[in-house]
Amino acid sequence: MLLNFLELPQNAIKCIFDFMDYKSILRIREVAKPMKNMFSLPSTRELSISHIDIFDENHSFNYDFYFFKSYFIHMMRKMKIKEYSFVNHSHALEATMNSAEFARFVAAVKSLFQLSEIRSLTLTTDNSEFIDVLLTSLNPISNSYQANTASLRSNVIDFALQLADLVESIRFVYDESTNSEPLPSTLQIIERILSRKCKNLEIFGSSRQYRLSLADIEKIFQ
């Protein structure tokens, strides 16, 4: 063969990959070493999603993932997500998406989500669409969850409880201004979460409702 794929100009290679689905791209890594390097997957550890940060900023979200870079560059382009960058020495992807884009993104990496050991999760939004996407992706058992029958607040608590079965660390930051529903006491929430797999819990909220009394703290220690 006089000419191989890798001697094609960059714009042609990019154009070819634009037409390919994710599985085909992964398979192309099996063809030749330069192609493998183009979509590098350095170690199994880096395949896992070890940390997710979700912020609610003007109806968009940011996400951090450990990942293999080239693959996600392609994915962002393919999904027409323009606002993304690589941070933390290129080990993390930060992207801005709306909830519909997030749902598409999660669907594309669903198996990766489910294989991943998620060590911590930071949630600073109670957007129900977004929480639904996470629930159906992180935990297949939660597929029957009906967000439209619950208020946003219940959403978050239910989500926390289901997450508590999956992860060892949870950090929630609540925006009190949007909360109108009566809640179980903070102590009850903490007890229910820590009786599951979750061993580390951080809750941030300014409301008096969340303040613990000395007696509560004593009870938690016990």
């Binding site: 063969m1 000419l3 794929f5 094609l8 714009n11 390919m20 992964l26 398979r27 890594r29 099996e30």
Partner: protein, 165 residues
């Protein structure tokens, strides 16, 4: 009808209808720079050298441009529309004889060099179609790519890719 002569890297001359060459961004720029559109210029006496394109490849490019004469010329990257593109039957038949060989790749290189966006897009789409649903070894066999991997390396890649199955 104004004819402009293109000269391939192996010194073959190809007189081509001026209208056809609008599809090539590179040639269009050369035509403008060489003032070949001016009435006073004798275009026939000023051939355009294309040192990066061999005669047999240039012949195919011209054949493609003749078929696509009058098609709207694609501008910019226009990535947004790429996903929807279907290779028309004529183009599929056009690429087929060269498929799985360096000829098709040379045609793709020429399309890039000559900045013929529609040809480049269709050619790349045709290449990507050959990858669909194929394993690495199948693609290697079809495209005649030698296997550089040891069995252990192949197994390692398969393991890395397992999560997507």
């Amino acid at each position: 009808m104004v004819l402009i002569t293109l000269v391939s890297s192996d010194e073959q001359n190809f007189p081509v209808e001026r209208e056809l060459l609008k599809q090539s961004g590179t040639i269009e720029t050369l035509i403008v720079n060489m003032n070949l559109d001016d009435e006073d210029t004798d275009a026939a006496a000023m051939p355009i050298p294309l040192p990066n394109v061999k005669g047999d490849v240039l012949e195919k490019v011209i054949q493609w441009m003749e078929h696509h004469k009058g098609d709207p010329v694609k501008e910019g990257d226009n990535e947004d529309n790429n996903a929807e593109i279907v290779v028309p039957q004529w183009d599929d038949d056009f690429f087929k004889p060269a498929m799985y060989g360096s000829k098709h790749l040379e045609l793709t290189v020429a399309a890039s060099y000559l900045d013929i966006k529609n040809l480049l897009t269709l050619s790349c789409k045709a290449i990507s179609n050959t990858f669909k649903g194929k394993t690495g070894p199948q693609i290697r066999e079809e495209w005649g790519v030698p296997n550089e991997f040891t069995p252990e390396e192949e197994e390692a890649i398969r393991k890395e890719n397992e999560w997507s199955e």
